[in-house]
Symmetry: C2
Subunit: 315 residues, 2 copies
């Protein structure tokens, strides 16, 4: 479930006018900006952008960028992007970043539905005149590359039907690939890179039943290894996405100098989707409500904006 609380039919014109007022004169009224944009879903935000453009012949997002600063500005900017465009930009940023962090790409490839991933790939074409697949393939190498290109490239079947005997045989193939005498990445990539999520979850369940240990726990080896790290993240994003995101938030918050990019990404991407479930996992694991943790790790308008999106109705 989502955490975003939005009214049913707000007036885009009134919203545009209030935002304009909040931007005009001496000093910006951030509270108004947060109180409006922090309570509008993506369709409503799109209508506000259109109304603002029509009335003031000015790009609302550009105006906000010039009025706001720092992490708050970045979060509002991400929040105002259309979801497919946002994912395309996040994937591109991950590829161009010096310390490339591919978790954003794995989230986009594996937590999105097949059609959401497709929309992000189409947005990527428009923005960068390349395919996401080719840019990933250019910036990575080895098994890590094969895994990422497969995850992004595949158009998974999205149905719920599963084949139980296939789950059984592929759980065994994965076990043999992971625990056998030679680590066989090829079969792992084939299975993770092509099967439907429902089928993969049946396979992971069978793995746990048969081998009395979850596949991720069984994936031993150097946790700094790029390929193994990506494999862990992939399986978690498919098997327990909300639990995985709670962990990403935990890591982002507990870093010395919280990692605001990770924090912003997860909250902005999931507030309209499943952030309520992520919050529950967060509380269960950390015994601290997510909004309290965010409150301690951040400050100012950025903090107020994130907490508006996350909601404060307890854990």
């Amino acid at each position: 479930m989502a955490t975003l609380i939005a009214p049913d039919h707000p007036s885009p014109v009134e919203d545009a006018e209030s935002l304009r007022k909040a931007c005009e004169g001496w000093g910006t009224n951030e509270k108004v900006i947060i109180s409006i944009l922090g309570h509008r879903n993506s369709v409503q935000r799109k209508l506000i952008k259109q109304a603002y453009e029509e009335i003031y012949h000015e790009d609302l997002v550009k105006r906000l960028e010039s009025e706001l600063a720092g992490d708050f500005e970045k979060a509002v900017y991400r929040w105002m992007q259309d979801p497919p465009n946002r994912d395309a930009v996040l994937a591109n940023v991950a590829l161009r970043h010096v310390n490339q962090d591919y978790r954003a790409i794995i989230e986009i490839a594996c937590i999105n539905s097949p059609d959401e991933l497709l929309a992000a790939k189409q947005a990527y074409h428009s923005l960068y005149k390349h395919s996401l697949e080719e840019d990933i393939a250019t910036h990575t190498k080895g098994d890590f590359r094969k895994l990422l290109v497969a995850l992004v490239g595949t158009y998974r079947y999205n149905g719920e039907e599963i084949n139980a005997s296939l789950a059984q045989s592929e759980a065994n193939i994965l076990h043999e690939a992971i625990r056998g005498s030679t680590f066989n990445q090829e079969e792992i990539i084939r299975i993770l890179g092509t099967r439907s999520k429902a089928q993969l979850n049946a396979t992971f369940n069978h793995y746990r039943d048969e081998h009395k240990i979850s596949i991720t726990k069984n994936l031993s080896g150097d946790t700094k290894d790029e390929f193994l790290g990506a494999l862990h993240a992939t399986i978690r994003c498919i098997y327990a996405p909300q639990k995985y995101l709670a962990k990403v938030l935990r890591n982002a918050i507990s870093k010395t100098g919280a990692d605001h990019d990770d924090l912003t990404r997860v909250i902005v991407r999931r507030a309209e989707k499943d952030l309520k479930d992520v919050k529950e996992f967060y509380y269960k694991r950390n015994s601290v409500p997510l909004d309290h943790a965010i409150g301690k790790a951040t400050s100012g308008d950025y903090k107020a904006f994130l907490i508006t999106l996350v909601g404060t109705e307890g854990h």
Copy 2:
């Protein structure tokens, strides 16, 4: 250019009525069926199917199947399918066939536009409750599998922009991968499996300019090797699709007992697209017009139907 000649606004209701009459009573009037369906484009055929269903509460395609026989029946059946469904079925047939022939899959992956391929993949989901990627990965192995899954999986950028220095460097990577001391399939698959067609064609042109030989001629080795065969077909489908299809037709016709599946597939898939260009390549290479060659290799209603689609206005 297409070879199909269709009137601008035929009446779907009149067509449905004429087809019904052709099917009724003693004996079927195949000539009428050919004269109507052989001159209607895919949108018009769809409207005829709808009109027929509404008037007679009967599925036109099922009725035709029960009236017709042999290669003619198969060709009409393929012709009446929506293009994305047809491609999905052709890909599935190729995978389930005893002597698996993957050329159909390579044609679908590499000659189709990225959006046509996507539509075929979506149709595949609906029909088979699996993704095309996973079924290919299940039925194939090794480098051959990696290539096919990459070709089908990627959502290529479809723009015309190219990067000339990238074409130069990747032509050299391909040359090194093919002619170097160890054959490097990984880089070949990355490049063919992710770059846009425009970019790949620039790369193939640069290869030819730099090395005075085309990349396909340079791909020596056992022509019976599955992976090398697929690599040849892939490059030809991207670089010179009409010339490639002329070759497929030539092979289909010159076999003892022409290969009617290949013949039907190419003609039915391309009659509304670029069969006129294919015909020109055919004539240039064989000095025999395609319709003459088909006339010699086939007979009866099947022959009449194919020649209607191919057109007889010379080569």
